[in-house]
Structures are given as structure tokens and as C-alpha cells.
């Protein structure tokens, strides 16, 4: 059984945002899958995805603070500067994090840890609405 959908995510400010329920609400077919996998793939190069702690919002603040220090803007050696100071760092952060998440499905639910959630990582100052392709394969 294969299910595939393109989902338009709500626009988000620069930073890290919990989107587990925004995605799950749009793929209710998941409930019929006993064993399988879900892939969530983001069709951009300046926003990305990761999994992390779904409880304390300060984790997401600290992620934005850390990654914006680890990949600074306006380094003198950057060549790709035409699209603004936040653009090249956004590409690098995307590749450090993930453009695709693969998560097991068990008995109609994501089989994640209880503290795990899906993050949209918006690396641009004004990234707008982002598109993901969700693909479910299972029994």
C-alpha cells in the first residue's frame, strides 16, 4: 500500500517549529497501516526537517541560537551572497540537518519515542510557506 501527498505548511518565522500534528492531521490514512514507514521530504534548500524534543520550547530557541552561531552570516570567504545574508547559511544548515525524515509506523501510529516530535527548521528570515511530500508505504 502506497499513499503520497503534497502538503503546504503554514509559514513560520525563522527558527525551529514543532509540526508533528500539522502533518499527521493531513495523513489520516496512516491509521490503516499496521507496519510501514513514512517519509517526510521538504522540497527546499533553505528550510529543513529534524526530530527532537517535543516538550520544552526553549530547546527550539536554543537550536536557533546554536545553529546561527555555528553557521554565521556574512563570513568574508562566502561567495554566494546575492540572495541576502541569511541565504548561504540557510543552505548549509539544511544539509547539516535533514531534508527527509524516515519514521516507522506501527499499528496506525508513528512509532517515535514519547519525547520525539518533528521540527520544521526555517532558516530564512522570510521563508514563506514550505512544501513537503509525505509518502507512506506499508501493510
Amino acid at each position: 500500500m502506497w499513499i503520497q501527498k503534497e502538503i503546504q505548511l503554514k509559514p513560520q518565522a525563522r527558527g525551529f517549529h514543532l509540526i508533528t500534528s500539522e502533518i499527521l492531521s493531513q495523513v489520516t490514512e496512516l491509521q490503516n497501516v499496521k507496519i510501514g514507514m513514512i517519509s517526510v521530504f521538504i522540497k527546499h534548500t533553505s528550510a529543513s526537517l529534524t526530530i527532537n524534543e517535543n516538550a520544552d520550547p526553549t530547546v527550539r530557541d536554543d537550536f536557533e541560537a546554536y545553529f546561527s552561531r555555528a553557521v554565521p552570516e556574512d563570513e568574508p570567504y562566502y561567495k554566494h551572497m546575492d540572495e541576502g545574508s541569511d541565504d548561504l547559511p540557510a543552505h548549509i544548515k539544511g544539509s547539516i540537518l535533514d531534508f527527509n525524515l524516515t519514521i516507522p509506523i506501527t499499528n496506525g501510529q508513528l512509532n517515535m519515542g514519547i519525547w520525539q516530535g518533528i521540527y520544521l527548521c526555517e532558516h530564512r528570515n522570510s521563508g514563506g510557506s514550505r512544501k513537503v511530500v509525505v509518502t507512506i508505504n506499508g501493510d
Copy 2:
């Protein structure tokens, strides 16, 4: 054909640990898969997975040394400090590395390079036993 199992890994000290055989010994059904994929998904946010060199143990030592410098503890700007100095860096390291590994299966075996092995990346000082979900899909 779908096979799915939850595996409890042996507790490990903080650092990087080769766990290829610990995982393979628990999914002997793999031998019956001619072409397919295996997913190994860790159900935590402060331990993670990666693939790397399976021969010289100093590579694993250097990984611990590198990542603990790249993501330092107790940065003055961190807000999420309630669970100890090693907690927030553990979350960040997890997202830099991987929570899921996807590896091809060919003729009943993992089709990895001869130098590749699966690492458990234990980012907490006392993380305890970690749980992974192994899902095999194939012909």
C-alpha cells in the same frame, strides 16, 4: 515482506559505539531478503545513530572529542538547562547526526561498504539502555 522489531540496546558510556553485530544478531530474518531496505530508528532525542569506520577504535574517540568541542556544554546563551549540562548539547548532536539510518539489503546482507559500521552515539553521561525500532521491507 515487512518485518518490524523493537530492540533494547546494551547501555553504553558517553561516546560512539559500534553496534552493527548487536543489531544484526536480533534480525536474522534479514537473511531471507533478496532486495530491500532496513531502517534503524532510535526512539530518543539525546542519543543518535550514524554510520562510520568500523576498524580503528580511535575514530570513535575522535568523534566524541570533536562533537563535544563543536557543541560545548554550558554556553551562556543556552536556556534549556534543567536536565543537566550534557542534555541540550545531546539534543543538538542528535540532530546533527541521525535518528534514522536507511541501508540497502542485497542477497540477505546489509549492502554497506566493507569499512562501514553502525554507531550508537550516546550523548548523555548516563543515558541508560536505548531503544531502536528496526523495520525491514523487501522481496
Copy 3:
């Protein structure tokens, strides 16, 4: 439907290289897949894969410049030095980036964003030809 192939990539200089068409030209069976997933898995620990901007080549130059600063050679605390100054940093960069890419297939094509391309990340000075396993599963 399962398709699996081992592909030998052209040798590349140290740096980041767009290889989308090099891969697609060798898996023309993709055209027959209506919904599915492709996995591209690299069988090495000192070269890796990522997805990023497929238009401006300075993005790839900036990636090489950034990652070679973020993971410097010859750090005094490195222990794994026998295979040359570029070897241990290559292993670390590989784990920060990806050894496997999973990309959705829709109507016989990769369902990536229009600006997304597949990069080979060659982290060694003389890495030689690299091998990838391409696995397609779909309807």
C-alpha cells in the same frame, strides 16, 4: 516493484559536486514508477551525499570552504592520523552530512524541489571513484 543497482561514480576532486543527472541516467527504470521512493546509499566513510541548490556553483564552493573550517585538519587532539591529515575530518564531515538520501518518486520522476540537486561530497584529496547503491521501491 524493487530495482537495485550499484553505480560507480566518476572520480571527483575534493569538494561538492552535482551528480543528479549522473545517477538518473543509470536508473531509467524510474520512469515506470508511479509512486515510490528512491534510496541512494554511498558505500564509503570519507565521502558522503547531501541535497542542495542545483543552480549557482558558488554554493558548492562555499560548502567546501565552510565544512573544511568547521572540521579542521590536524587538530592536536585527533588520534586517528595514520591515513593522512584529510582522513579523520573526512569521516566527521560524512557523519554530519549523509551516507543515504531518500527521495520520493511521483509519476516517473524524482519529486524534489526545482532548486534541489544531489551532491556528492568528496572529503578526501584523492578519493578516487566512489560506489553508490541505488534502490527503488514503488508501484
